[in-house]
Structure formats: C-alpha cells, structure tokens
C-alpha cells in the first residue's frame, strides 16, 4: 500500500502535456499506484481476518527474529549474497580476473567444495578460462 501511494504521488508530480492527463506520462503510474493500494488493501484485509495482527506481532517478535537469524539456511543465503555484493563492488575497482579468482576461492572455501589447495587451483583455472574465452575468443567486452 505504501509503495502504491508513493508511486501515485510521484506520478502526480510528473509533467502534464497539452493540459490533458489522458496522454501525460503520469497517467499509467498513477493508475498502477491505485492498483497497488487496492491489492495491498485486499491483502491486509484478508490477513487481518485470519488473525494477522497476532501473527504479525509473533513474527516480528524478538524470539522469532532471533531464531530467523540463527537459521543455518538464512545464514548461508545471506553469506553467499554478501560474497556476491563484495565481488560486484570490487569489479568497479580491480580487474575482472583478480576479482573473480578472489570471489571463487572465498565461495568454494565457504561451501567446503574441496580441499583448500584444490579450491585455489580450480578458482584460478575457472576465472582464467572464463576471462580468456570471453575476452580473447569471443571478443566480448569485460567489466
């Protein structure tokens, strides 16, 4: 609902051409904002009918949040995401080959893919093969 309202407000601030909203750029985002508000309202209403308020306070409760953060699945997903974020950030500063080697070594090691020396060897080989194949063989622009 909040997203819908924000979209509608942004749409209303858009320029109106030929004094008519009908063909102006803001019309469709305005309607979309309205649709989101409506769909959000339906979701909230059905959730509150099913005792959503009690469930919501349980979900955002300290105990539940602590259990969520301690879940191995969540931790693994978040750690892997963090590695990707760092890798992508690094790409703006260091060459693709080095960033990819570092990313692959860290990820292989975290996932316990193989023994460390094999992780390093595979990371170097894979990153080099990708960089060589795309830049030299296929002439694709590289980050």
């Amino acid at each position: 609902m909040t997203f819908g309202a924000a979209l509608a407000i942004a749409a209303l601030k858009m320029r109106v051409f030929n004094d008519s909203l009908l063909i102006s750029p803001g019309l469709f985002p305005l309607i979309l904002g309205g649709v989101f508000v409506l769909l959000g309202f339906f979701l909230l209403r059905s959730a509150s009918k099913r005792g959503g308020r009690g469930q919501a306070s349980r979900i955002v409760g300290t105990e539940n949040l602590r259990a969520f953060a301690a879940s191995p699945k969540v931790r693994k997903g978040m750690t892997l995401l963090l590695f990707i974020v760092l890798y992508v950030m690094a790409l703006g500063h260091i060459p693709f080959l080095w960033a990819s080697i570092a990313y692959l070594i860290v990820t292989f090691t975290y996932l316990k893919a193989m023994k460390l020396h094999w992780n390093v060897a595979l990371a170097v080989a894979a990153a080099w093969a990708i960089a060589f194949a795309f830049s030299d063989l296929f002439r694709i622009p590289m980050p």
């Binding site: 750029p25 769909l39 622009p141």
Partner: protein, 516 residues
C-alpha cells in the same frame, strides 16, 4: 484461400531457411549450443532460463541467424537436459522435468534408467517437432488477427498477459502473481516514456533514463536468485542404479502415440499462454495423462507413458511459446523472454509487423528449432552415460562459477558497470520474492509488457478523445475484457477458497489434543 496460400508460402520459406542453415558454421553453433544447453539443464539448480542467461553474452557478437540458431539450440537442449537428473537422482535438472521424476526415478531403481532417458529424449524430440509444426501453421493465422489489434486491444492484451501469467504461476494464490506482475509494470515505468520522451522515476540517475535494461534484470531475477535459493538448501543425492541400454525398441512407442499427441497439444496450448512456461505444461499433461490413460494406475510406479506425458509437453511448450512471442511480442515462457531480449539486441522487433519488417524471421526460427531438436536427439541419446557422470560433480563446485558468467552477461550488453549493479538489485529482489513464495515469471512479463501497456493505453485514450465508451464497443477488446474479468473473478474466488481451506486446516491442528 488466402490462408492456404499463406500456409503454403510459410512452409516453402521454412524449407528454404532449413537449406540455408545447413552450413558448417550454423551447424556447429546449433550442435555446440545444444550440447551446452543439455549440460546446463542436466545440472540440478540450473534452469533453461539460467542456461540462456549464462550463454546470451556469446550471441552478442554473432550475426542474427547465428545468434538465433545458437540460442534456440541452447533452449531446446536445456529443457530436455533436465530429465537426466530427474531420472537418475530424483531431483529435476530443471523445474520442467519435475513430473518426470515420478516415473523416471522408479524406472532407474529397476535398472531401466537408460531406457527411461532414451524414452524421455525421444519424447522431447517428438514434442518439439510437434510444436514447431503447430507454430508454422498457426502463426500466420495469429498474425492476421494481430493486425486487427488497435492500441486498446494491445493494452488489454498486455493486461491479460500478466493477469493469466500471475494466475497460473502463483498456483492457489493468484493475488501474489498479480502483485508481482504489476510490480513488473511499475519497473517498466522507469526511464523515458515513448510518447514525449519524458524521464520518469529515474531518481536522478542518468543511467536509468534509458529504462531498466531487460537482460541484466532477467539475469538477476533468474540467475542470482536461483543461485542463492539452490545453494542455501542442503540436498544430498546419489545416483540410483546403472544407466544400461538407452535406445528403447520401436514397438514400445506405438501404444504411447495417443498420449504423445495429447501431451503435445497441452504443451502447445500452455506455451501459447503468456508466461506460463514448461513446468506448468509438464505437470498439467502428466495429471491429465494419469486420469485419461488406461494404464493410469501405473503412473508413479515407473511408467514409460508417464515419462512421455511430461517430456512431450515440456518440449512442446517451446514452439507454443514462440507463437505469441513472434506474433504479439508476448513471451510464452521465461526462457522465451530471454530469447526476445536477445533478438531485440539484434534489431529484430517481434510483433504484428514482424512479417512485414523481417519476413524471413519466423521461417528462420522454425528451421533453427528443427535443427536444434535434431541436435538434441543426437546428443541426448549418444551422451546419456557421460551426462549422468556430470551429475556426480558437486553443486558447490559448479554453481559458484555461474556468478562471473552472470556478471559478464549483464555487463556486455550495455558495457556499463551500472548494469551489473542493477542485476544484483534484481537478484536480491528475486531472492526475497522466492523466499516469500511469489512467482517470478509475472515480474519479467510485466517488465517486458509495461511499455506496451502504458503507451497503448494512453494512445487509445488519445484516439477516443478521452471517452471510454467507444473503446468498449470493439469486438476483440470485448473478448479480451471478458477474459480479464473472468481471470479476476476466478482468481479472487480461488484466493478466498485457498485461505478458507488454510484457516480450516489450522483450526483442525489447534483442536488436536496436546501429546504432552
């Protein structure tokens, strides 16, 4: 007579395109692409969409015919490759092979894994070829109808596309599918709109003036989110039984022909529905096959017919998905959305005008799909045993290598590091949506159809000078509006029923006596 003339002409053009494609370069691209697709599809966790996302960057430097040949071969190979893992380890290589597990794995346990793979590969070939024939004969008819579409009808088509995609992909809670579809529409509003070139929702980023680039968004939504979702799960598996003989005797196939035809029809219909995809086609065909077959009671115990129902249908979706894609620019499945993004980069604009602007494109697609399915049959049967060996490689080794490939894919299209950041953003969005059980296909369809919906809606209103009534009198528009209304009605009813059942289940669980 016009239509017969058109069909004859189309068939001749496909023949010419087929002859033209028989060059060493194109054949190498088709056989190479198909092999790559089969390998990616065989690895659990890597889908056909992911295969196209990873390999799309190779097509940037190719000529149009080479790119079409390569990408379609990857598509056919990846959809078919999923059956190897489904049969040998009971984990589908791609979601479209999930129904294949039900009979494929019991067959592998009986030592008939090779025969199940062989049957599945031949069924996949039959499904693809059937759908190509339907595509060749149906597309000219759809073109003729599509040419009658005005702005209002195009807007309703876009709306119908995300509504039906949302309904089908979200299962019992269509509201979630619709929300994601409209989120896709909202994403497509970013950047300069097409009538006045007025920049919208760019938040001061110059890079967003051109809009959200489709390929980084697709790679993020399907590639990054899939990588995270797959690797966070601990799934142990072992290869069951030995592969054994692969090519089944011909006499085994004759009783399966009616099931194959039925599954082919189901696959094509599901493929032609915007955004529905291979997995829905496969499950629906398996379910109908189980209820209609005389040997339906054997489904789930190791029935070749079950494998045929699933595999014919998921491959028949390919040709079916190409019909709305080529004639209306509405992709029928997520991998076909990837294909659409790739051909846009090569300057081809599928849609009602395609036959005038690029008259040879539809025959080219048909010819490449035919050759792609021949390559799939060849590799699938000859490499069944090595393919199973690939499954022995740990996912923890294979999947991280995917990430540098996604980075190249996102970067190479626009040569901007900003696109890599966008890919990452969409990856996180896709991951969150996945965790909350929201389907991803409507998001992508929304991004693709958003500009069409926006521009067509405003132009329709401009034509009618702001009056709604003249728009409501158009026959094709009335049909589309009725379809949308029906989808909303059935969707809301379905959502209410789903929540009522859920509440009843929870109440029943609460009433159970405490074991302590």
């Amino acid at each position: 007579m016009d239509i017969l003339h058109l069909l004859a002409d189309e068939t001749i053009q496909v023949g010419y395109a087929l002859l033209g494609a028989l060059t060493p370069k194109i054949l190498a691209l088709i056989f190479g692409g198909c092999l790559l697709g089969l390998v990616v599809g065989a690895i659990p966790g890597l889908t056909a969409t992911m295969a196209l996302a990873l390999l799309i960057n190779l097509s940037y430097g190719m000529e149009l015919d080479g790119a079409v040949a390569f990408l379609l071969a990857v598509y056919v190979g990846a959809v078919s490759g999923g059956l190897n893992a489904a049969i040998m380890i009971n984990i589908p290589g791609t979601p479209s092979a999930a129904a294949t597990c039900l009979d494929g794995f019991p067959l592998a346990k009986q030592g008939k894994g090779g025969l199940a793979i062989g049957t599945g590969i031949i069924a996949s070939f039959v499904g693809t070829m059937f759908s190509i024939l339907v595509m060749i004969f149906l597309s000219p008819l759809v073109y003729m109808i599509a040419l009658k579409f005005g702005h209002w009808e195009m807007f309703l088509l876009a709306l119908f596309g995300i509504m039906i995609c949302g309904s089908l992909s979200a299962g019992k809670d269509p509201l979630k599918g619709w929300i994601v579809g409209f989120l896709g529409f909202a994403t497509a509003m970013v950047g300069m709109e097409q009538i006045f070139a007025y920049p919208r929702l760019t938040f001061g980023f110059l890079q967003l003036k051109g809009g959200i680039p489709l390929i980084p968004a697709l790679i993020g939504v399907f590639g990054i989110s899939e990588f995270l979702a797959v690797l966070q799960e601990e799934v142990a598996y072992k290869i069951e039984g030995r592969v054994g003989k692969v090519i089944p005797p011909l006499r085994e196939f004759i009783p399966l022909i009616p099931s194959a035809i039925r599954s082919g029809i189901i696959g094509v219909i599901i493929g032609a529905i915007p955004g529905a995809g291979e997995d829905i086609g496969s499950w629906l065909s398996y379910d109908i096959g189980k209820r209609r077959s005389k040997k339906g009671h054997l489904f789930g115990t190791g029935s070749y017919e079950g494998v045929v129902c699933s595999e014919v249908a998921n491959n028949a979706v390919i040709g079916g998905a190409m019909i709305p894609l080529l004639t209306l620019a509405v992709p029928g499945s997520p991998p076909s959305a990837m294909f659409l993004a790739a051909v846009w980069l090569h300057g081809v604009r599928p849609g009602p005008m395609l036959n005038f602007e690029n008259p040879g494109f539809l025959p080219l697609v048909a010819a490449m799909l035919i050759l792609g399915s021949v390559a799939m049959l060849f590799w699938g049967l000859s490499l069944a045993k090595p393919m199973v060996a690939i499954l022995k490689i740990k996912r923890e080794i294979l999947l991280p290598i995917v990430i540098p490939l996604t980075v190249i894919g996102a970067y190479a299209g626009g040569v901007r590091i900003f696109d890599v950041y966008l890919m990452l953003g969409f990856g996180v969005l896709g991951y969150i949506l996945r965790q909350m059980d929201y389907p991803l296909a409507p998001l992508v369809l929304g991004i693709i159809l958003g500009p069409l919906a926006d521009t067509s809606f405003r132009r329709a209103l401009q034509q009618s000078r702001g009056a709604i009534l003249p728009l409501l009198e158009r026959p094709i528009g009335i049909i589309l509006m009725l379809c949308v209304a029906w989808l909303i009605w059935t969707g809301i009813r379905g959502t209410q029923r789903y929540y009522a059942e859920q509440a009843a289940r929870e109440a029943a669980e609460d009433d159970l006596p405490d074991p302590q």
